[in-house]
Symmetry: C2
Subunit: 472 residues, 2 copies
Amino acid sequence: MLEEPSLVLLETATLNALQAIVGENRVLTDDDSLRHYGRDWTRFYQPAPSAIVLPGSVDEVQAIVRLAADQKLALVPSGGRTGLSAGSVACNGEIVLALDRMNSISDFNPMDRTVRCGAGVITEQLQQFAANQGLYYPVDFASAGSSQIGGNISTNAGGIKVIRHGMTRDWVAGLKLVTGTGELLDLNQGLIKNNAGYDLRQLAIGAEGTLGIVVEATMQLDRAPRDLAVMVLGVSDMSAIMEVLTAFQAAIELSAFEFFSELALQKVVEHQGLQRPFETPCEYYALLEFEQADESVLDQAMVLFEQCVERGWVLDGTVSQSETQAKNLWRLREDISETITPWTPYKNDISTVISKVPAFLAEVDAAVKKSYPDFEIVWFGHIGDGNVHLNILKPDALSVDEFRAQCGEVSQWVFEIVQRYGGSVSAEHGVGLLKKDYLHYSRSPLEIEIMKQIKKVFDPQGIMNPGKIFDL
Amino acid sequence: MLEEPSLVLLETATLNALQAIVGENRVLTDDDSLRHYGRDWTRFYQPAPSAIVLPGSVDEVQAIVRLAADQKLALVPSGGRTGLSAGSVACNGEIVLALDRMNSISDFNPMDRTVRCGAGVITEQLQQFAANQGLYYPVDFASAGSSQIGGNISTNAGGIKVIRHGMTRDWVAGLKLVTGTGELLDLNQGLIKNNAGYDLRQLAIGAEGTLGIVVEATMQLDRAPRDLAVMVLGVSDMSAIMEVLTAFQAAIELSAFEFFSELALQKVVEHQGLQRPFETPCEYYALLEFEQADESVLDQAMVLFEQCVERGWVLDGTVSQSETQAKNLWRLREDISETITPWTPYKNDISTVISKVPAFLAEVDAAVKKSYPDFEIVWFGHIGDGNVHLNILKPDALSVDEFRAQCGEVSQWVFEIVQRYGGSVSAEHGVGLLKKDYLHYSRSPLEIEIMKQIKKVFDPQGIMNPGKIFDL
């Protein structure tokens, strides 16, 4: 019911001017397009863009931005729209600038291990391209099949390999950004080492389109990992999981360290037709992944496993014997989000430093259960990075609106706990519209004021994705 | 002759106010102190600070900055003063704020693998602290024994392990910065994942103190590497060295890939009493380092070595059989800079993308030799990152002043070539005073204008290290 686009009209002269830039059939104003391009995977906002524009080149993007700047029209850059914080939602008559057509991959250089991507390149397309060259693009997450590189950069996308390979930030060797005045910044040009002045590239990464539109990037690729082994361990409690992390990290280069709760496992096994990793029920499970350069790594992992069992941290465990088994173990973690969708879950993506996760989780659990003892909490996430995803399932007895209202309260408690722990109100999903009212739980008034001033430097008219992250 | 401090006087009331903040004996105005604290390892500027202040706490730094802001007095933050671009030179009556006393290491957390460092912690002190915990601080370079963490962060120090471990930027989990108004920013608080608004921490890193003073940092530590092997290979020419890099990187995780020329080797062998790695003279040498997790890695390296010989890329080579041998091979590379100091070398620290290095070097060589055939060029550097250090030795026949004048011309040619290659005029040494007139060869007028505007956001009075990187 929230999903009908409102009718917002652009002046005919403006529509004509946009058509003159991109071609007649690349300015869309039909209801389906406004609905499709006006929102992301967040479902709390009514899409209401005034038009969708599909430029095919950097020049066209610049011309659109200049037009918008002249007429003070708000622009929302749009990638795969898989965001979970409404960073690319257009619900206020904005023009959506969709980068879908700028999806070419070019200028691959095997020695530099870099490749040039249009902002509209799909994450999976880049992963596949890298694989075809015997290389690896290591940023990976559930929406890789539809998210776009420009969006990944604008939200500094994280995912399941951050513990070893970092965030999207770490793979952007060069970046082209069209500022709010329509000018083009060509930042860092693919260099590994460049200490000539402020690294403006870093500012644009994670700025959610509020400083400008990412139109192209030179992405760094990595050596392809060989023979990834996956281990799933059942642990006695949350502090045990952290001890396991420390023990393994001291000896083995982990490429993933994920976790999920027994409830998450039950749901995913039941609904995806998967096998439990082992019969022993445990409060939490850790999923570890590492490269087996040779047999000694697996031997070492087995020794560590036994030590963890002896210490009482680990109750049971299994390790993949084949690529298929590894994939199936990964599904236990990766299919959780999709599995719980029918319960209209409340979702929150938060982080603390790693060592504080157990106490942090316990506090959130207690706060929720005190007021809402019937709420089912599904925990999972990238615990090796201190990043947990809190999911609360809607009880059948509650309407969606009642549930949302109660979850509003929950958010308040959660963010207060986040603040007390010095954590982040958005670990990897960004702020967008969804979390801007909570930004002050993680950032000081001075920091927020500095951000606003910096936005004015890049976007003096305030037309670039206005109202996202903060209000000016 | 350039090294006598000028006499610049602060008003007595100001001196008294500074003494009231830090204590009487921590405001220095004697000639020796002004000379010592007024300059860095660059030797082209006459130190002329008005006073040296040695605060012992963040509060004291804030009080000093507030005083300076009130009276519009310029401040130069000062760490180990090992910079090579005059980023911490005070030659214009500035007050030097030296962070030497803020050198405590605290709050080590073995699970997070983080530790809190005052800005004045010496790099080697942090390396040693990490080693004592069985961990590793991987940023390393020639001046690690005197450079300070605050300075490393402010210049985004690089060094010899960047190919695997990145720059200082990659190891700063949290950062406290005192802005130009004396306010304290506590940025990122040690989090691995934090997408809550612009990452202002990234802006402060590499800003050379122009946005504020780094007073404290939470540094990330890494797993300690085991059994590092060092290989030195003699190659036929520069393109061969790049082929060797590509071949090794496809199979082995290299922790260093350095290079030096035959002339560099000759100088260092002669003056440091070291052995040549092997008798075959080669145009260039590559030094590779990698972790031997087990024997198979060395076996693989030997196979790659043989393949490189078969292809004609490598003429000869050696590999360390012990830690001592590894250290001695490293000295062939690391002792070059010190070895050539008596020749009053012209130095330049530049980069391109890796694949363009051979053509880039050839152009620089040709440009220098065309006009100055008697100049001896010593090349070395971090070629695995595209970062080369150009060193030209002063011919005995030339006076220092004549040589410097001619090198001014050389700089012009070099930076024109850098610009044509889309490279950086400062790969890892920063801009400071030395390169600000050349910044436009790497950064567009718009980028420079944006940097200036950003500086005004953090430092509205323009008192933080004014005149470094750019003039306002």
